[in-house]
Amino acid sequence: MEKILQGNYAIARGAWEAGVRVACAYPGTPSSEILTALSQEYKEDVLTEWSPNEKVALEVAIGASFAGARAMASMKHVGLNVASDPFMTVSYTGVKGGLVVVVADDPSSHSSQNEQDSRHWARFGKVPMLEPSDSQECKEFTKLAFELSEEFDTPVLVRTETRVAHSFSPVKLGERKESHTPLGLDKKDAPKYTMVPIYVRVRRKIVEERMKKLEEFTNEFKYNTVEMNDPRIGVITSGVCYNYTKEVFPEYSYLKLGMIWPLPKKLISEFSRKVKKIIIVEQLDPFLETEIRAMGIKIFHGKDVIPNHYELSPEIVERALKGKKYKPPKIRVHTEGLPPRPPNLCSGCSHRALFYAIKRLGLFTFGDIGCYTLATAPPLNAIHSTICMGAGVGGAFGAMKVLGKEGLGKCCAVIGDSTFLHAGIPPLMDIVYNKGNSTTIILDNQTTGMTGLQEHPGTGYTVTGDPTHRINFEELARALGVKHIRKVDPYNLKETMEVIKEEVERDEPSVIITVNSPCMLHRREKRKFEHPFYKVLTEKCRGCGLCLEAGCPAISWREVTEEESLTQDGHKRKGVVQINRLQCPGCGLCSQICKFEAIVPGEA
C-alpha cells in the first residue's frame, strides 16, 4: 500500500515498522511531528513521551536500549546540543536494542536561534549518520538505522532538514517487525556500559574499530548510489541537495550518499576516477568538501560557488553552477510595497499584555525560546536578548551580578512554562544559591505554544492525553529557595506593572508567574474574557496610536478625511484606529492602554 506522507510521518512509520518500543522527544521545528505521529498512530505498539528536554529524551531512550528495546529520540538541531552529553558517551558504550537519534536541521533558520550543520556531530561523536532525501527514504533509512545500530553496536544518527522533514511524497508501507533482541537487563558488564576511565580507554579503541568496519560497510552500502550519465561532470551530494541538483542538471553523473558518515572513501575515489570534474553540492558547511579534498581529490566546484549559509533551492544551485549563463524565465512584479507578514503573537495572547507592561517599565529583558521571542519585534520591542533555552534566567542573573544594586529595577528574565521546565530550573537554583537578586517571570500559557501545542510536565497531561501529575511552578520555585513568588493576571495591566516593578526593584531573588493565561490556540484550557470583543468609539479616538504599540493584529489604523478630522470634543486628528471584531477575542488590553476612553466593550 502507498500513502502520501510528510517526511516526519515517514520517519515515525519507519521506526514503527522497525519495531521501535520507546520514542522520546522534546518538540522543536522541524522535528516535532515525528513524536506526534508515533503517539497518535502507533500508540498501541510504541511507548511515547514528551520529555522535559532533549538530554532527558536521549537518556530515556538509552535506558530502553540497554533493556533490549529499540528506542528513538528525535529533536531539532539545537536539541542535539542539549543532548550532546549523553550522545557523546553512548557512542562509546554502544547499545543493546537499536538506538536511533533523529536530528532535524533548519537551514535559513525558519524557526530557530541559529543555523548549525548537524553533520559535524557524526564526525565529532564518531557515530554513523544517514541522510534521507524524500519521504520514502525517511522511512527506509530510519528502519535501516535500527538494524545498523544493532549490527555495529552504535547509536545511529538520521539527519533531516526542513525540506525533507516537511516535504511530502508517496511512501510504500510495510509491516511491523519486532526486533529479535530479547527484552531484559543483562548481567553486569562494566567494561561495556560503565564509562569510568579504565573502561573508557577500552571502548575508545572499540569505537575506532567500529568506525573502520562501518567505512568498509558504507563502500558497499546500497543507498550510496552511483548514477553514470555524462562522464564529464560528477556531482557528489546527499539529502535534498541531490533532488535540487538532479532536477536542474539531469544530464550529470551522480554519487548520492545515503550514509554521510563515515564516508565511503573507496567509492568516492572510484567515482572521481570515472568522471572528469567533481562538483560537490551540499547545504551549509563544506562538510563533504573538506573531507574529500583531504583525500587528495581535486574539486572543480564546491563552496567556491555554492553558498555556505541559508538553505539551497534548485534555483540557487542552478545559478551557482551556471554562473553568467544562468538566464531563468522571469516574472518581474514589484513586491516591495506589500505588507510584510512576519509571524506575530495572536490577538488576545497573554504574552502581548505582559510584554506591554515590561515595555512601559523600560526593562532590559533577557528573553528565551518560544512564541514570546516574537515580542522582540516592533512595535513591542520588548526582548533584548535571546540565546537558547534557559539562557534568559541565567543571563539576567549574570547582568545583575555585575550591576549590583545599580541594576535594580532595570532588568528581568522572561521564560515560558515549557522552556522553564526544559532548562530554567538550574539557573533559578543558581540565583538563589549564589545570592542573586534578579527577577524571573514565568509566562505560563499551559502548553508548548510555538511548536504546535505539545504537552509538558506542567500541563498535567502526557503526550497521549492521559492525565498525570502537574508541576506547580510556585511550589517548585519555593523548593528552590525563592522567597518572593508573585502571581499576576497579565490581562490586568496596572496590577501587572505594579508587581513587576516591585519585584525587579527588590534586592532578592524573585519569581513572577502568570496565571489564567492559557495560549489562545489551546484546545483544552480557555481564558474566559468578560466581554466578547471591544470596539472603538470613533468620535472619541484621537488617533494617538498608543494602542497600536501593543501590535495587536485586530487593531489597525486608517487615515481620516477632512470631515472626520476632529474628535467629538474638538481635538484635531489625522486618523483613527479600528478593531476587527472577528479577530478580537475581547482581552481588553487596548482599552486599558487608551487614555481617552475611546475603546469600550462591545455587546454580542
Binding site: P30, S167, Y244, S313, R341
Partner: protein, 204 residues
C-alpha cells in the same frame, strides 16, 4: 524516488495564503488526487512560525520531478487565498515561452479591480492568465467562511485549462475533508464550479 506512470501529468503549482486559511488542506486534496490517479507527487509545506498569521506557501509537483520546490518562473498554476500573498507569489508563474502558454492563476478577491492594471497587462503580455474570484464571499454565503480554499478550487475547475477534472477533485475532497463539514464543503465546491462557468463566460 520517482514512479513512472502510464498517463503523463506534469504540473508544478504554488498555493499561497495566510496562516489559518487552509493552504495545507488544498495541498492535501491535490495530493490525494495524484495518489488515486497513480501520478508521482512531491511537494513542500510551510510550518512553524507561519502558523502565527504569517505568509504561507506550499509547493506541489505532480509528475516526474525530483525537487520538492518549484523554481520561480516555472509554476503552471498559482492558487492564492489572499490577494497580497498572491502578489508575493506571482513571480513563480511561468511566462509563455516558445509558443507554450503561460501559467494560470486563480486569486480569491471580491474586488475585481484589486490588481494594478499595469501588472495585469504585463502578466497578459507574458501569456499569464489571471482570474479573480470572490471565494470568500461564496464561502460566507454558504455558511462556512473558513472554506475559501474549497470555493477557490471549485471555481478553478470551471476553467478549460485547469488540469484537474471536477469529479476526481470532488472525490478527493470527500476523502480529505472532515466528515462533519463534508456536505457543506461539497456544496461549496459544486456551487463555486457552477458560478465559475458563469463567471468565465462574462470575461472579455
Amino acid at each position: 524516488m520517482n514512479r513512472m506512470s502510464d498517463q503523463r501529468m506534469n504540473i508544478q503549482m504554488i498555493i499561497s495564503g495566510v496562516g489559518g486559511q487552509g493552504v495545507l488542506l488544498i495541498t492535501r486534496i491535490f495530493a490525494q488526487f495524484a495518489l488515486e490517479e497513480g501520478y508521482p507527487i512531491i511537494g513542500s509545506e510551510d510550518h512553524g512560525m507561519s502558523q502565527r498569521g504569517g505568509s504561507v506557501m506550499t509547493h506541489l509537483k505532480i509528475g516526474d520531478f525530483n525537487s520538492p520546490l518549484v523554481k520561480k518562473g516555472n509554476a503552471d498554476l498559482l492558487l492564492s487565498l489572499e490577494k497580497n500573498e498572491a502578489y508575493r507569489t506571482l513571480p513563480y508563474l511561468r511566462p509563455s515561452i516558445r509558443g507554450k502558454r503561460g501559467g494560470l492563476c486563480f486569486i480569491n478577491s471580491s474586488d475585481p479591480n484589486y490588481m494594478d492594471p499595469r501588472v495585469e497587462s504585463y502578466l497578459g503580455d507574458k501569456g499569464i492568465e489571471v482570474h479573480l474570484f470572490p471565494a470568500e464571499d461564496l464561502a460566507k454565503e454558504m455558511g462556512m467562511p473558513q472554506s475559501i480554499n474549497i470555493a477557490l478550487i471549485g471555481f478553478a475547475t470551471a476553467h478549460p485549462r485547469f488540469p484537474f477534472p471536477y469529479e476526481k477533485l470532488r472525490r478527493a475532497i470527500e476523502k480529505i475533508t472532515h466528515p462533519r463539514f463534508r456536505e457543506v464543503n461539497l456544496g461549496i465546491f459544486e456551487k463555486a464550479a457552477f458560478e465559475g462557468k458563469y463567471w468565465l463566460e462574462r470575461q472579455p
